[in-house]
């Protein structure tokens, strides 16, 4: 599928290349960085991008290039963890609601809409602020605001799947609800969840950058892209401090969105015929 898509969709290919590149960088970051990302050298503070320091140095004289590379690990990690846990929570919640139907469904879906009725970033900020700023708490906050999407998609998939004849067949064979749920319904609905997860990855990276910009991510001196941009915003004349981590956020979320768009096009039956 990936190959057919890449052949026909340039944006998708660009997205794949960018994301692969960032993935490789994030894995290799500790081995390829030219400087220790935490090392301070006040002699070079605010130095411009140069041959020694490709992206310049920040207000404490730390090498921005090294910090951006190492920062990619946190961004990618946060994105992936958020999506995985949000998808798991959402799948189970939405699956139960959809399978049970009736009043249980009504009540459970009102619960998820309650979460969705708040603007994502505001709710995440409130949760972070209440729990105290740390990487772990930021992830918790992100999962809490993120799962309802998955719950909704999962519910609609389950409602569709459960009317199929093979479910009826299992039921008449005497299979328990639990068995039907995990053996028949989940495997048959998981496809669209995976697509949603891919599309969502870029947004999760963005939300995390937003939280860390507001100082709600891991405490300093951890090189987080959002926190680095916020640091640069204090020193506007030294454009490189905010620009390079900003480019990191931009490229990664853009790459992820290209992939997501490509996949959506591929799965959209109307557009599919053209491929």
């Amino acid at each position: 599928m990936t190959w057919r898509l890449m052949k026909n969709n340039t944006l998708f290919s660009i997205g794949v290349v960018i994301c692969l590149l960032w993935l490789i960088i994030s894995i290799l970051a500790p081995f390829i960085v030219p400087y220790d990302p935490l090392e301070q050298n006040l002699m070079i503070r605010f130095s411009k991008p140069s041959a020694e320091h490709w992206c310049g140095a920040d207000s404490l004289g730390r090498d921005i290039f090294s910090r951006v590379l190492v920062g990619s690990r946190i961004s990618i990690g946060a994105g992936i963890i958020t999506i995985i846990f949000a998808a798991l929570v959402g799948m189970i919640y939405g699956g139960v609601a959809g399978y049970a139907g009736g009043r249980v469904d009504e009540i459970m879906m009102r619960g998820s809409e309650l979460v969705q009725s708040f603007p994502t970033i505001i709710l995440a900020m409130i949760i972070c602020a209440a729990l105290g700023p740390s990487l772990f708490n930021a992830l918790i906050a992100m999962v809490i605001v993120w799962w309802p999407n998955y719950a909704r998609v999962m519910r609609s998939m389950v409602i569709q799947v459960k009317t199929n004849e093979y479910i009826e067949a299992s039921k008449s064979l005497g299979a328990s609800n639990l068995r039907i749920f995990f053996k028949e319904i989940i495997p048959n609905s998981v496809g669209s969840i995976i697509v949603l997860a891919t599309v969502d990855f870029g947004n999760a990276v963005l939300l995390f950058a937003g939280l860390s910009y507001l100082g709600l991510g891991s405490p300093p001196p951890t090189p987080e892209w959002g926190a680095m941009v916020s640091d640069g915003a204090n020193y506007f004349t030294y454009w490189w401090i905010a620009t390079f981590p900003g480019l990191g956020i931009l490229t990664m979320s853009m790459g992820a969105n290209f992939i997501g768009d490509g996949m959506r096009d591929f799965l959209d039956p109307k557009l599919r015929k053209e491929l």
Partner: protein, 546 residues
């Protein structure tokens, strides 16, 4: 066609940019403000011989009632309109008599007798006498404003004759003369004030109706009178023709409300204003190359310091006095000053440089001694180091981001084996654990309530701030005893001696390490003379000339 569209776009953009700039220039105001703006000459002295000083400020004031105002810039205005018994003359070290010509303190330090000057007349023409002093201060006390705590030691005010005032205090307080410089002790023309609804009665807080009048008028004996106050636009001061002292240079002073510091800088560059009070460090750098403008550092009394808890249950290894000494030696003060910006100093002990009795700043050029610090760590039994929490409020002190400074400190402490987990907290959250002494290591700041070193005695063992580090009096009895002695010593030279001993003791052995005494830049037209910052008043307008 395409070309036409692009030209149109450019035209729209240009118009947009111009209107946007235009809006910036005008003070955030209304139709009234345009009238005011056109009425003021663009350049300071272009009026018909009238000398006009224009100052831009991001204001904090909302009232100019001497009994109620407590804001920094309100005091700037009030100091020009009123006289006090004491005032600071150019420097905080020069505390001088103002409306009185002599004073005596009783041997027990409980009674202050002032002999008033007989030549002072208010702007209304009334004579200033002892009754006005008594009336004004009683009014301030009874209004129960934010600054009223400074008068809480006063038991009674007596006026045995027309030009003598006697204050009786409940406790001896050598900082009383300093407190008398505050605007709640401004001497008001009681006859005029009473006409406008003011009262010194015990229930003044609910019966006094003069606030609105005081907001745009003054009844004092200072060099200037408050002519008008338009909230969010400007304050206008005019020369007091009845002023008893040396005639001030400027006929009129306008204090414009310009909240945005970059707008202040732009107006100063264009010559629209003479003084820009709120300039940030980055803008100061760009202004430094312009010959018509001089950038100066306002030495504030705000200090930032490292709190090291003395209670082993809270501080763990940090509570060990040897570790605390090691931390003091391990810090790179030169680097900390570099990060904070130009003009900063590092006081020896929590006694700000510039106050009476303070010693000069620490010589930081070779104070850092990593070897000695490591030796102390080994002596304390932590040769391999340890890990501790480091609480940092997420705020900015005079333009210095505390989190930034904390990362520098973290870096310095790592060298001697102390690993710190920075815990950034909202100030309001962090204040709670700071005030109850639950922080092992904390980065904090302090601004004295009044510019007298007595307010700094809080840092001594067993006192308010000392206890936030769980530094109790029995941990350092000699120092704790000096705190009690300094608090009541009224003899000026003896006081200075005690303060000097305290500072030398605390420089080496203390639960606090002073990091910075902050400054913030301001910019003035280079031809101005006497535009020197003094933290009590910001500026003393009567000293400014060309």
């Amino acid at each position: 066609m395409k070309k036409g569209i692009s030209i149109l776009t450019v035209f729209i953009l240009v118009v947009f940019v111009f209107t946007a700039c235009g809006q910036n220039n005008n003070p955030p105001g209304n139709s009234n403000s345009t009238e005011n703006a056109s009425g003021t000459p663009a350049s300071s002295n272009s009026g018909a011989g009238e000398k006009h000083l224009i100052v831009a400020v991001d204001p904090d004031y909302e009232s100019f009632d001497p009994g109620l105002a407590y804001e920094v810039y309100a005091h700037m205005v009030l100091h020009s309109c009123y006289n006090n018994l004491f005032e600071f003359n150019e420097k905080l070290e020069n505390l001088e008599l103002a409306a009185a010509e002599a004073y005596e303190v009783s041997a027990d330090g409980l009674s202050y007798t002032f002999h008033m000057r007989k030549d002072i007349i208010f702007s209304s023409g009334n004579k200033l006498n002892a009754a006005d002093v008594k009336w004004s201060i009683e009014r301030s006390i009874n209004l129960k404003g934010n600054g009223a705590f400074m008068a809480e030691d006063i038991v009674s005010i007596d006026t045995p004759d027309e030009y003598t005032v006697i204050f009786r205090l409940g406790n001896p307080d050598p900082s009383f003369p300093t407190k008398l410089t505050y605007n709640i002790f401004c001497i008001i023309d009681s006859k005029v004030a009473i006409e406008h609804g003011a009262t010194n009665a015990a229930n003044a807080a609910s019966t006094d109706t003069a606030k609105t009048w005081f907001d745009s008028n003054s009844a004092g004996s200072g060099p200037y009178c408050l002519a008008s106050y338009t909230p969010k636009v400007e304050v206008v001061l005019t020369k007091n023709s009845n002023y008893w002292g040396k005639e001030p240079y400027y006929d009129k002073i306008t204090i414009k409300t310009i909240p945005d510091s970059s707008t202040q800088v732009m107006m100063l560059q264009k010559g629209d204003i003479d003084i820009a009070i709120n300039v940030d460090a980055e803008q100061a750098k760009t202004l430094a190359n312009i010959p018509e403008i001089s950038v100066k550092d306002a030495q504030s009394l705000t200090m930032s310091f490292l709190l090291m808890n003395r209670d082993p249950a809270v501080g763990g290894p940090v509570a060990n006095p040897k570790v605390q000494k090691a931390i003091r030696l391990a810090l790179d003060y030169v680097g900390i000053q570099t990060i904070a910006g130009p003009g900063m100093t590092t006081p020896l002990a929590p006694f700000p440089v510039g106050l009476y009795g303070s010693l000069p700043a620490r010589d930081i050029s070779n104070y850092q001694d990593i070897e000695a610090a490591k030796a102390l760590m080994a002596e304390a039994g932590y040769a391999n180091g340890f890990t501790t929490d480091f609480y940092v409020p997420t705020t900015t002190v005079s333009g210095v981001e505390l989190l930034m400074m904390a990362q520098k400190i973290q870096n310095d402490l790592k060298v001697i084996g102390i690993n710190t987990n920075i815990i950034p907290e909202d100030v309001l959250v962090s204040l709670e654990t700071y005030r109850t002494g639950q922080q092992s290591l904390g980065l904090w700041y302090w601004n004295p309530d009044y510019p007298d070193n007595n307010s700094q005695l809080a840092f001594l063992p067993g006192q308010k701030v000392g206890l936030r580090a769980n530094w109790t009096a029995d941990m350092y009895p000699e120092l704790a005893a000096l705190a009690d002695k300094a608090a009541i010593e009224t003899d000026v030279t003896e006081r200075a001696k005690i303060f000097s001993t305290i500072q030398n003791m605390m420089a080496e052995e203390s639960a606090f390490t002073c990091l910075l005494q902050h400054t913030s830049p301001y910019a003035v037209r280079a031809s101005l003379k006497g535009a020197d910052y003094i933290s009590q008043y910001t500026f003393d307008f009567k000293n400014i000339s060309e």
